[in-house]
């Protein structure tokens, strides 16, 4: 009997989903370099670092949302938009979150767009179809989407950005980075890259940047095209191979057939006294080495 | 600082690391991280958890270095420490157990390789990953890492007889699943 009463009480207390949009304005103390975990299915999530030892959440919860879970334990803070189990239509929630600047972020959404900036911990950002934009100077980044576009402007951080069909763009990156997409375009622009690994199946790979003295650039694709645009005075050793694609080389040397009897072209040469290493491999896509 | 490979070089690195030389410790780390990660991954059953555990192992190793006596090899000491860390971690215990606790007959999504067929490395790793937790741990320590029952018993806190039955069960389940 007691047990039944308890169950009934719990059911009565369980919150009903919000029938209208709800505003959110809450804050909690948090360690200066703890972990902040954010979950939101749809809508948007915008996280910025600040100099308070507090996590502050403002914004609106979409119609149909059950509640916002905002809790913490030890050095972890959780911000989670909780949806009712049997929901037919729930509107997205838009969250603006401020976190201590030393925090590490772990954000997961389904279709909500994610923007993260101004934290110096690690960034781990995942979405299915939302776009992800990451900036600032994190210790490391790890961004994954299925169809959402990804843009990372994280100056010196090492990291990885992957999508399946979304575009992956890295701007002004100087750390050891990896970017891949199956069919989306992968592009690296600006700054002076150090170690870059780019991979696609059919997406185009574009690199338009400077190279650090001992940079390592590796671009691999099956049927996509590879376009590398480099300073005309670059010092690098190049190694380019394709199976059935063409190689265009602004830097002079023409490609040669790997064998008289089988398809395949390769091109190996050095310019500007060498130093950096640039490798491009494709199966059927063309490779373009361009001078800026 | 670069030290030669081999036992003498390792002793030098260990001494330096014990004195607080972080780059020397990094070299020790580079030579051993694969071993540690392999143990963590197979025993913990999750890459994310294994990465966190690997970190914990090396952070703890740094702190415990003063207790390392160079009679045994560094890798042996380190892997023992790794096993200790894996066995005592408390993270996410409830969810992890719920995820991995399922019945003895591995409900594979594809039938196991027919008897006589060599099978792939994947079949084997999958079969190991599917073992019940305690049996898997004992199995990995005994058959993959080469420990004796006495050591396994000491570290897991199980009786030697219990360890032996876990091992027996693990091997039997693997043979059943792999069809040998």
């Amino acid at each position: 009997m007691k047990k039944l009463g308890f169950v009934v009480m719990v059911l009565a207390v369980a919150a009903l989903p919000a029938l209208a949009q709800q505003r959110v304005d809450e804050k909690r103390p948090a360690g200066k370099d703890g972990v902040v975990e954010v979950h939101n299915v749809a809508g948007s999530v915008r996280v910025t670092g600040w100099d308070r030892e507090e996590v502050a959440v403002t914004g609106t919860l979409g119609k149909g949302t059950e509640r916002l879970e905002f809790s913490g334990s030890g050095n972890r803070t959780l911000v989670k938009v909780v949806l009712p189990h049997f929901s037919h239509h729930v509107d997205g929630s838009d969250l603006e979150i401020k976190v201590p600047a030393g925090s590490t972020l772990d954000v997961e959404t389904v279709s909500a767009d994610i923007t993260a900036d101004g934290v110096s911990g690690s960034l781990e950002l995942e979405s299915v179809s939302g776009t992800v934009t990451a900036g600032g100077d994190p210790r490391r980044f790890d961004v994954k989407t299925v169809s959402g576009d990804v843009e990372v402007t994280a100056a010196n951080a090492p990291g990885r950005a992957k999508s399946v069909s979304g575009r992956v763009t890295l701007k002004g990156v100087a750390g050891a980075v990896e970017a891949s997409s199956v069919s989306g375009e992968v592009s690296v622009t600006g700054g002076s890259v150090s170690t870059v690994e780019l991979e696609t199946t059919s997406g185009t790979i574009t690199l338009d940047a400077g190279l650090a003295k001992d940079a390592r650039v590796e671009a691999k694709t099956v049927s996509g095209e590879v376009k590398l645009v480099l300073p005309s005075n670059v010092g690098a050793d190049f190694e380019v191979t394709t199976f059935s694609g063409d190689i265009t080389n602004d830097f002079g040397q023409p490609a040669r057939r790997t064998s008289e009897y089988a398809p395949g072209k390769e091109l190996s040469f050095s310019v500007g006294g060498g130093g950096a290493r640039v490798e491009a491999k494709s199966f059927s896509g063309n490779v373009y080495l361009r001078k800026r | 600082m670069s030290a030669g490979t081999g036992a003498a070089g390792e002793r030098e690195l260990v001494r330096a690391a014990q004195a607080g030389d972080l780059p020397a410790f990094e070299q020790l780390y580079r030579s051993a991280v694969g071993l540690v990660y392999a143990i963590c991954l197979r025993m913990a059953g999750s890459a994310a958890l294994a990465e966190e555990l690997t970190q914990d192992v090396f952070v703890r190793a740094w702190r415990k270095l003063p207790t390392f006596r160079s009679e045994s090899a560094f890798a042996t000491w380190l892997t023992r420490l790794a096993v200790n860390v894996v066995l005592t971690e408390r993270r996410d215990r409830g969810r992890r157990e719920a995820r991995l606790a399922f019945s003895d007959d591995l409900d594979s999504l594809a039938p196991p390789a027919p008897a006589g067929h060599p099978g792939t490395a994947l079949d084997l790793e999958k079969a190991i990953a599917g073992l019940p937790e305690q049996a898997r741990r004992v199995f990995i320590l005994h058959d993959v890492e080469g420990w004796g029952h006495g050591e396994i018993a000491r570290l897991t806190g199980l009786a030697v007889g219990t360890c032996k039955s876990h091992l027996h069960r693990a091997r039997a389940l693997l043979r059943e699943v792999l069809g040998s």
């Binding site: 299915v128 199946t201 | 294994a50 990953a129």
Partner: protein, 226 residues
């Protein structure tokens, strides 16, 4: 000794843990009993396969920077903390089986990625060709293909099992991109068949396989409603 007793001692036998007298008794029985001998052979075969497993696996991302930072800041390892929440929404046996599969694929992929990097060096001096002109490199490739095919089949089955919890848009993107990769794999395989001596193609093929496995693994672990 009867068969039941012997079977119970086989583990100790292959581990070299039997006392001389017991060992002699067991071996005596085995000499005259085909079933038990078969059982022993099976056990030894299993242990041989285990012995071939890699002892060392490189993590996907180098954890050293985090380790160094934690050492420098003198952090204390927490014994208890609410772990990172998983994307898993357990659906019983299927979820459990998939979890197992994902770990196994990660283990195997880690080793094969290492081989992918080495595959460019089609002939390494320490590995002589075996008889019948089949080089270790091509054995490696065949085994890699078999492993990836197995992983692909099983991951596809796992994907099928959870299709209901993924949105049609996501499924559309996944199917379209799987087709793209499958087409790419087919093209490289065909080229390799026509030109088996090509040194670049094996690595390219492994790249394509790995892209497919990465995709499938990712999708299988997506959150519900994803």
């Amino acid at each position: 000794m009867n068969c039941r007793e012997v079977r119970a001692l086989l583990d100790d036998l292959v581990d070299g843990a039997l006392q001389a007298e017991e060992r002699r008794a067991v071996e005596g029985h085995l000499r005259g009993c085909v079933e038990c001998r078969t059982s022993e052979a099976g056990l030894r075969a299993l242990l041989a396969r285990i012995g071939a497993l890699p002892r060392s696996i490189a993590p996907a991302q180098d954890p050293w920077p985090d380790i160094a930072r934690r050492i420098r800041t003198g952090e204390v390892i927490p014994l208890d903390f609410a772990g990172r929440s998983r994307r898993w929404y357990p659906l019983g046996a299927v979820a459990a089986a998939v979890a197992v599969l994902v770990v196994a694929v990660a283990l195997v992929t880690a080793v094969l990625v290492g081989r992918e990097r080495g595959a460019r060096v089609a002939q390494s001096p320490e590995r002589p060709a075996t008889a019948a002109g089949v080089t270790p490199a091509s054995l490696d490739l065949a085994q890699a293909q078999a492993t990836f095919d197995a992983a692909r089949t099983q991951l596809l089955a796992a994907l099928e099992a959870r299709k209901g919890s993924l949105s049609p848009e996501t499924l559309g993107v996944v199917e379209e991109n799987l087709k793209i990769i499958d087409r790419a794999v087919g093209e490289v395989q065909a080229a390799l068949a026509r030109d088996p001596g090509n040194r670049e193609l094996p690595a390219l093929l492994m790249t394509a396989y790995r892209q497919e496995i990465d995709l499938l693994q990712r999708v299988v672990q997506l959150p519900s409603r994803g």
